[in-house]
Amino acid sequence: MLPSFRYVRPRTVSEAVKALAAEGARAHAGGTDLLGCLRDGVFDAKSVVSLSGLDDLKGISPTKDGGLKIGALTTLAEVARHPGIAKGWPALAQGAAAAASPQLRNQGTLGGNLCQRPRCWYFRGDFDCARKGGEICYAVEGENTYHAIFGGSGCFIVHPSDTASPLVALRATVKVVGPKGARSLPVEKLFVLPAVDHTRETILAPGEVLTEVLLPPPLEGAKGLYRKVRSRGAWDFALGGVALALSVKDGKVASAGVVLSGVAPTPWRVPEVEKLLVGKALDAKLAAEAAELAVKGAEPMSGNDYKVPLVKGAVEEALLALA
């Protein structure tokens, strides 16, 4: 049962910014994640600020430089089936298609998918965990099958988004509008590791709204994919996965974006792997080497050491698929 809250539906972004700056205000885009959190008592909301009236934030349009602008309120279904995205930025289309279920993709938005709260069962459940302001991360001594092998400290969530890793791999940027005006930043910089702040996943300040995602123009010879490994065929978050955005010129990798999902509190970019790939022809040997490197330094917990071979396998398979 949902708790009681005030409902606000601004008509403009500036109204939204104002409404969201109020204490206890929560943004409602598609609402699929927000309502779940409110039902579970993960946090409460004095007011729910529905962004659904902001038509400017919906839709996909080309940018002057050959890139693409995706309004933050564009649904995942629209992103997944957009022919231009599937062609030019396939990792994103596949990531959007791999999220949740058809109905949730019809409702959930790209902005919401980036800003959703983690699926950690201690965070969602009746546990006073560190991310909710408590003393401990229950995953450390508890049931940590689905938790982080990279980047955890004080909290070991994995980032739940299937679109975040592709967007980081694609070097996309987001536009954020807040009380102090608008700013743009790389998607990679949107997310916060627990070492910096274990109570939040993004750098968004109160009142800030993510308004659009900008995809840079596809590089010549661009290839990409998103490979997600999950326990169940639908409606399941990644056990591990990888987003690849490569460009290949004269048979050699000219640029590479390699970002893991389901392994760290943020999308987990592996620059060493990107560096390794560039300038080389993608073959089985390189794929195996890159896969090995991708999991280097992993720090598994008691119940998630499987993620090391699983992610390694996924990276190798994904690279070979693009070879």
Binding site: L2, S4, R6, Y7, R39, P102, L104, N106
Partner: protein, 212 residues
């Protein structure tokens, strides 16, 4: 109308469930308490509600199955609860109320969504179709007929949601292949495990819809 019919003049003053006829001394879900009905002249163009304090009921215009309803809702009321408890449309089923089963699937502006994760206020100005809206009078619609013929259910509780998901899928893709059917139906759990028959039924429903 998105569902291809317009029964705006088909008003009734008896709780809006005349099709079901006599149900003895009971009615499914509280009907009519806070409901007023009016003939639909045009779907509401723009969302009306801008702000609503917690716990405060406000009048909302909902267009469900081609009929316009004015209902009193508070911010936390979901579309699911309003359909069932205020409009008496109990075909839409709660299974989890957290977007994890699909039993509550309805079409909003022709697109399949979970009514449990949709605030009623978010349906403001949109066209909602429920399983009752697929009926053609007392006759089953094509998807429903296909589900009967292929025995695509057991206990039947998830069935309205399955039917609506299939309807949504077929509106978007009138001739889905088997793999598209499996993906399209992957947002609806069936604990009785009737999936194989559901796949057949959706395939058959596509044919029935075409023949119509």
């Amino acid at each position: 109308m998105a569902d291809g019919k317009d029964d705006r003049n088909d008003l009734d003053t008896n709780g809006g469930v005349s099709r079901r006829g006599f149900l003895g001394s009971v009615v499914p879900a509280a009907v009519g308490v806070a409901v007023a009905r009016e003939a639909l002249s045009a779907p509401a163009a723009a969302p009306a509600v801008a702000e609503l304090p917690a716990g405060e009921p406000a009048k909302l215009t909902l267009v469900v199955n081609g009929r316009t309803h004015k209902v009193l809702v508070e911010p936390r009321d979901t579309l699911l609860s309003v359909l069932r408890e205020k409009l008496g449309l109990t075909g839409t089923k709660p299974g989890c109320e957290r977007g994890e089963c699909g039993a509550c699937t309805v079409l909003i502006d022709g697109v399949a969504r979970y009514s449990c994760l949709t605030l009623a206020l978010e349906a403001d100005g949109k066209k909602v179709t429920t399983v009752e809206g697929l009926m053609e009078g007392e006759e089953l619609g094509p998807v429903q007929k296909a589900f009967v013929e292929e025995d695509a259910f057991q206990c039947g509780y998830c069935t309205p949601g399955q039917v609506m998901a299939a309807e949504g899928l077929l509106r978007e893709n009138p001739e889905p292949g088997l793999d598209e059917i499996r993906h399209g139906m992957s947002g609806n759990l069936c604990r009785c495990g009737a999936y194989a028959h559901i796949f057949k039924a959706v395939d058959k429903a596509a044919r029935f819809r075409k023949e119509r």
